[in-house]
Amino acid sequence: MGMSPEVSGKPSFVKFDTPRELVEAAYEAVRQARQTGKVKKGTNETTKAIERGVAKLVVVAEDTEPPEVVAHLPIIADERKIPYLFVSSKTQLGQSMGIDVGSAACAIIEPGEAQPLLEQILASLSKIRSA
């Protein structure tokens, strides 16, 4: 019964296009960090992790309905100079965190074994953002 508006294109909180391979890398990094490091799940915890400055990477789902729930995350992440990226599916983001429901956002606090993958992601992100 989802009455989502038929908006063409992506919602305006999506500030840049995240390449497909980077999206897949983000899912994988979240999965590894959740098993061996520390991940904050959900919009509320992610917001707090950004404001406390402890987030290493913020992942936001583009298909969040309504988009107002996550629209502030890129803004406050930019203010705190915390890197972020957008993934296509909140269901898949929830799955990579090992939870049964979708998740509109998450923040990697301690990458654990995902450290090398995280560094790769951050490097290609800074390339995209500076281009």
Binding site: M1, G2, M3, P5, E6, V7, P11, S12, F13, T43, N44, T47, K48, E51, E65, P66, P67, E68, V69, A71, H72, I75, I76, E79
Partner: protein, 177 residues
């Protein structure tokens, strides 16, 4: 694009009065959601316009999956659980439409215009939502947006006979005995 305002000022310790009574610190997330909504209203965001086009073609009273303004809905008692229902109501704007009297009067005393029902929009929205869903108890309503012809509100309702609601003690005082 939406002209989102900077959020630095939001870190101060604001409190809000919850509907239940005691003042409690308002979660940071809801301050941001509220701010986002205000920004979208102010800059008449394309998202909002697209939504209104969609709503205009929809039914007058319709159940929606999730509240459009999560901060307002939660303040009224909304929870993402079974038995809690959000309804969007479309109202025609303007005063009452009165019949022109049969006998002659001077224009001032025709009594066809400038006569209003003494009800707020949210009261009317609540009436119409509970007429559609008579088994649900109303927790409250909040405005969404309006165009020249209609205004839209969302009403938060709860099914008092649903097991998950009966098990939730926070709803107990707000349901009819």
């Amino acid at each position: 694009m939406v002209n989102y305002t900077a959020r630095v000022h939001l870190h101060s310790d604001q409190t809000f009065k919850s509907r239940v009574g005691a003042a409690e610190p308002r979660p940071v997330l809801y301050r941001h959601i509220s701010q986002t909504w205000q920004d979208e209203l102010k800059s008449s965001a394309p998202e909002l316009k697209q939504r209104i086009i969609h709503w205009r073609r929809g039914p007058r009273v319709v159940r929606v999956e999730r509240p459009t303004r999560l901060d307002r809905a939660r303040a009224l008692g909304y929870k993402a659980k079974q038995g809690v229902v959000v309804v969007r109501v479309r109202l025609s704007r303007g005063g009452m439409r009165m019949k022109r009297p049969v006998a002659g009067r001077r224009p001032k005393h025709l009594g066809t215009i400038k006569i209003k029902g003494n009800l707020s929009e949210s009261q009317v929205a609540i009436q119409r939502a509970s007429r559609r869903f008579p088994n649900l108890t109303v927790l409250g309503a909040y405005p969404l947006s309006s165009d020249g012809r209609y205004s839209w509100l969302e009403v938060v309702m709860v099914d008092g006979s649903h097991p998950s609601i009966r098990a939730d003690t926070e709803f107990a005082s707000r349901l009819p005995a």
